[in-house]
Symmetry: D2
Subunit: 438 residues, 4 copies
């Protein structure tokens, strides 16, 4: 059946279109910097926000009006699968992502949960075959159930740890069956509420143990997806262990996991940690750890995770700039980990909001590509650091310099090279010019 | 001469004293947990805030009234040395810390700067011998001079890089001469204002190169101080590379520097990064990286570095709790990187503020020691994590578990161990009881 | 029946007690500054957090284990009433507070809701008579139901506005029947998500109209409670109209409502607005608007409303300092608008957490009273501003000065009065002395 | 003489121009919504940032290279006047703004300061006559000098209060002489560092007294400028009394000053207070208090006032949207209270940065004008609130409704009007379309 019968498959109509159900920037087959937009952007839909969530917040119940919300139990689970593939089709989104609990009810036991998952996965598999849609990544939700109140891989309760392991095991099996490109770990309860009751060292060690077991099991079953850690600094937990990209990298290095993992970076998580999204991307790509993106945006005047659909052209441009500099997003994608505002409760807001996000990234892509083609920042940077390509600077880079040789140079350097202006205002004004032109 | 002639050496008078120039909690010879307070706390005075700074802020000039402020040039430099040792003596503070530019004017050339340093260092050395006071750490200021506008070890200008190296070289020599326990690197301009003009990867590499050169030179001259990196997330730079403890550790691991460095952690830097100070200490000590402390406090409703003298008993208690758990602060100390408020401009505010800070840490020490002696948190934590000392939990910790074994266990675990309450409110109320009693 | 049969009525045992179910500071009959602790503190219990909520957060479902949670519908409503009065009794808390939806299910129609309310109110009334417990305030929840997605008194939908009015009308009637001391308005959805779709001026006007109608109706039915507005800057709405005390006062002044309202101030709302709680209290009392307190605390490193039980002795001391300076809290009280942490899910955590909060305020009260008795801050302030009690300063205060007379004075004032140190460090260290002594 | 001899008068060259010294959007004579860009925007240059400041920050000295920086004393003061008018001319900026201390050295006495001011004002007057440039506003700097460490109008020292009055008196005289359109009060030290030493009520009263005296004196000398208060929440002071627009309005209402003042709103001050700039503008215009704008931008991940040149097209568009809705900025203007980044230290960065800011506002203006012309948001809002133009909604607006009539309506309203989606995502996506097209 069709849940969005009134909505046609969304078409590209260009920037002047006044049709709310049309793309203004996203033209999947348009070639940008040698690839189509579709190939660059690898958009994904987030099962939880789009098929499951309903607009509840800490001060109010759900508002969403969804054409499948009269169902319950496994019927609801199946209806959501149908709605997913209809939306993917109508929006020309090639990928989707889910947590285990998004697709199937937990039931009364782990065994029942496994069975429910199997039933729904079979349905998903059929739809995937028919539609050609693909699984960008799946994951296990180890934060909503009360059992995880003290954490999952970082819990103080060994039985809960075992349960978490069982969910991950099943998740890896599901990922393999559905050909997932990636498998994600987001540790919503991996952290602490207060250090007064926390064995921080044991919790860190246990998390590393779980990751190693996951790697081993994936190898055992021949699941070769890219493993991703998704950093977030806080919320729901007061402090989360994967605070930001650098913290996750420190952890992965310490426990000899860095060759097995990359990062799934989320815009709103970056800003909650005090960083721009571009910063997190830069840290990751400089460390060879850029895995995949959760596309959304926060409100920087707000201290919690608002997961808004991305509509900021500056952020989209700098994001795609980093992705292009990275040589693309690889096996990752751009997953809309975003939810419609609570008052945007109508079913077609889901369509409109994805269009908004896809258009924003499409415009970000074309702007970033033109900036790179014209080497707007690259030429500036090349010149700026040119002193490290000759003389004493080259000695530094080549490892020939010592404190003594540098001090000698400095002592005898009667006319040191003057600094040049960083030209931040000029560069930002130039970015504006690129943004408002084609 | 005496700059604080009206102030006697500060004595311990106990908590009921109304004498502003007496200690209420700090009793240097009092034994706590097996050591004297003096041995535990290893207080240091910060040359820059106490001898040099004058209360200027971005909207106003200096307010401070200092009995040595009529001097200029090298006379001022010498007067500050005298004032330092007088204050150390009157406050019974055993250590001090300085940047190169704190003790000597830069003059018109690097050579002149070296000479000025040598002159003042000789004077400091004499005072140290006479007084028994010691150098906790020294460092090079590579952020105030305009040449460092684009960074020092992360500059885009190779000649500036060489100058920075020359300052570090001299700093290491001075440290060796004065028997410094530690040598500190704080990268106030090591970061970026905007990624649009920044070669992030080169800057990181160059920083690592500088650190390696410093290690090599210290070895060459036989200077065996502990090397410390001091993280700070931002300010003056928009983003600083040593954002927090975890970020610094990631960097040190990546560049094979982690065996050569520990961390100098500062309370106000922690909160600017979104962490409690206790968190930063816990991260560092869990990684074997707890080096030394910069004691101060910020205002959590304020977004910049206020460097207030520490007067929060909660923070002091949790800080000393971590230090005691670490087996002490080692070669590090507790340096008052703190400044009197701009309207606290009188000379004796310097004395009063240090008393406030020392008393706060003394009370924090005794409270933490009693909490540990009574195992208030330890017993709770031991019980909380007890499931990892037996059965399936022990298998996890011992490396015997796999995803499959854990999943089997979970599937057949009909009565999983219930979670127990985290008791955060009880633990915090208990902390209050300890805080207000002796 | 008894839901907390294992817990005796909580007794005062003093600061050395290790009994988690005893007061360490709160001794209801102890006289402080001329009144008993009970008279000063007028504690209230919050129905929503303690009887209704269960620890859900945006990333997880309820964890709470409550002995009444097996009931549903009106049975649950009645069980909660019983549990309330049992807890009030066991904790010696004299007051309680509720929203309409806390006490009764909304049912399928407004009429049914009215009926449900009437049924439960009758039960509450009986319990009040038997126990002597009193209603500090009641209010209408006009933020949880989906109908309020765009606001209640500031909605764009006139039918929703009418519904809100009907809830307020009933609330005023219930308040009168139960002898409420106050009636509260908290506008959780009175604000906007984006100005792009908002008629700000109309929304403000309509809010004022609703308040005037409420005043008129209260007068009509002879309900003479104190009306209170509760400011909060944001959450759930991106921007809420009653941002903070000053903003609420501006609104009340503009719409000629300031003689009919006072403020219900909440600690965590203050910090979310960038203020200390003491600041909000000072603003309110200076404007004669200090009405009542919602006692809790936030985590200043966290950007959302955590509503923790208050355990910070500094905050409690400065809060009670303002209350004492205000001549008491009047018809208001200290309502624990606080929830146990999600992992503190056990039923007795409710008891423990209230003890923690009550003890914290009791200690804050005694400390503030001693500070005032000794005029620690008052004498300092008197001296500090003494120049405004004589000469040119007195002319200013008495309205005799003009710019010209002041400029003449300044031009001819050859030795202007020097500023004196603000002594912030000394005052804070002195506060510490008072805090840790009796 | 010419300080910027190498730079021609800046011309409009259009969005494709690659000339850093050309306008890409600002075309002064272009007509938008019935007025020229020049008439709409009324740009002003800030004396302090552009002619005086040099890039110092709390961790570093000045970096700026200014062609007039070799002068000192009154020669420097005169050189800055020449540089000002040259820059105003080259940038086609019609207005400027200054503090008293920006234009003249304070000297050794108030009398000398008056004399210095008179000398420079005469020079400014001559340049104004020759050039046709105008004074948007002037003000007195009552925050930089140490005497103001405890405040100016809110000081605890009556002699300092008198000195502040003398500066304001002179400022009003200077404003009258130079035909200033406005006179501004920004209270950088009007606030407190800690409430522990503060007589908040007296300080507020004294501030109001000063404002009344200023009104009286302006009337006395026939100076009819618009008086403006400039809110800022904090920095340099921990809490500033004019926290935001609403707080300033509350103060002005309380002290019967609201008919004599409007607000000078600054973007970076808005965000430091937790608001968007659009919010502050909306509050002000709804209260008839929109006076003038300080154009700049902050970095929302940074907690201090960065005063960056405005380059955010979203902010500029929503700002100009509010200004257009206000019927223009009246006697106010758009003053670039912005400074070049410390590493943008070259003299021509001043020109480039102003171009960036002017272009940003020009593009914001044209985008806002098109949005209004097409009634993009207006039609949506009209429809959204239509229920308040008929039936029960009209009764509310017309004052005919009561709680009883509304409750009756609600009780009998069997099919309440459904809420409609707020369409935030659609509106923001539409804004993007307008932003990137002409």
């Amino acid at each position: 059946m069709a849940y969005f019968a009134d909505i046609e498959r969304v078409q590209y109509e260009g920037v002047q279109s006044k049709n709310p159900y049309a793309f203004k920037f996203y033209n999947p087959t348009q070639v940008v910097a040698g690839k189509t937009m579709e190939e660059h952007l690898r958009f994904g839909m987030a099962y939880w926000h789009t098929l499951v969530a309903g607009g509840a917040d800490p001060f109010g119940v759900e508002t969403a009006s969804r054409p499948w919300s009269h169902y319950t139990g496994m019927d609801l689970a199946k209806a959501r699968v149908e709605a997913l593939f209809e939306l993917l089709d109508k929006l020309s989104i090639p990928y989707f992502c889910f947590h285990d609990v998004d697709i199937a009810p937990e039931g009364d036991s782990l065994r029942e949960f496994y069975n429910n998952i199997d039933t729904v996965v079979e349905l998903i598999e059929q739809h995937m075959k028919q539609s050609g849609k693909k699984l960008l990544w799946n994951t296990a939700n180890m934060f909503s159930n009360p059992r995880f109140m003290h954490g999952a891989a970082s819990t103080c309760n060994a039985d809960v740890y075992a349960h978490a392991a069982a969910q991950i095991k099943k998740g890896l099996e599901v990922g393999k069956r559905l050909g997932a490109e990636n498998y994600v770990f987001w540790g919503g309860r991996e952290g602490y509420e207060t250090l007064l009751n926390t064995d921080y060292a044991l919790e860190q060690d246990n998390m590393a143990r779980m990751f190693h077991m996951a790697i081993d099991y994936a190898k055992e079953i021949g699941f070769d997806a890219q493993f991703l850690i998704e950093p977030k600094p806080k919320e729901p937990t007061k402090h989360q262990y994967d605070f930001d990209a650098a913290t996750a990298i420190a952890f992965l290095q310490k426990y000899d996991l860095n060759n097995h993992f990359k990062l799934n970076l989320e815009a709103n998580h970056a800003t909650l940690a005090g960083h721009t999204f571009q910063h997190e991307l830069r840290v990751a790509r400089t460390n060879g750890m850029l895995g995949s993106l959760d596309a959304n945006q926060g409100d920087l005047l707000i201290g919690w995770d608002t997961d808004e659909f991305p509509v900021d052209l500056y952020a989209a441009t700098t994001t795609m700039y980093e992705v292009l500099q990275n040589g693309g997003i690889g096996r990752g994608g751009i997953n809309f980990d975003a939810k419609v505002r609570r008052p945007s409760y109508a079913a077609d807001d889901l369509v409109i909001a994805h269009i908004a996000g896809m258009d924003t990234f499409a415009k970000g892509l074309t702007t970033a590509a033109r900036l790179l083609e014209d080497r707007v920042f690259e030429d500036f940077i090349d010149k700026r650091y040119s002193s490290f390509r000759e003389g004493i600077g080259a000695d530094v880079v080549n490892g020939k310099a010592t404190l003594s040789s540098l001090a000698d140079y400095a002592l005898n350097n009667e006319q040191p090279r003057a600094n040049e202006s960083g030209r931040e205002e000029l560069l930002k004004a130039t970015l504006n010019q690129y943004l408002v032109t084609e």
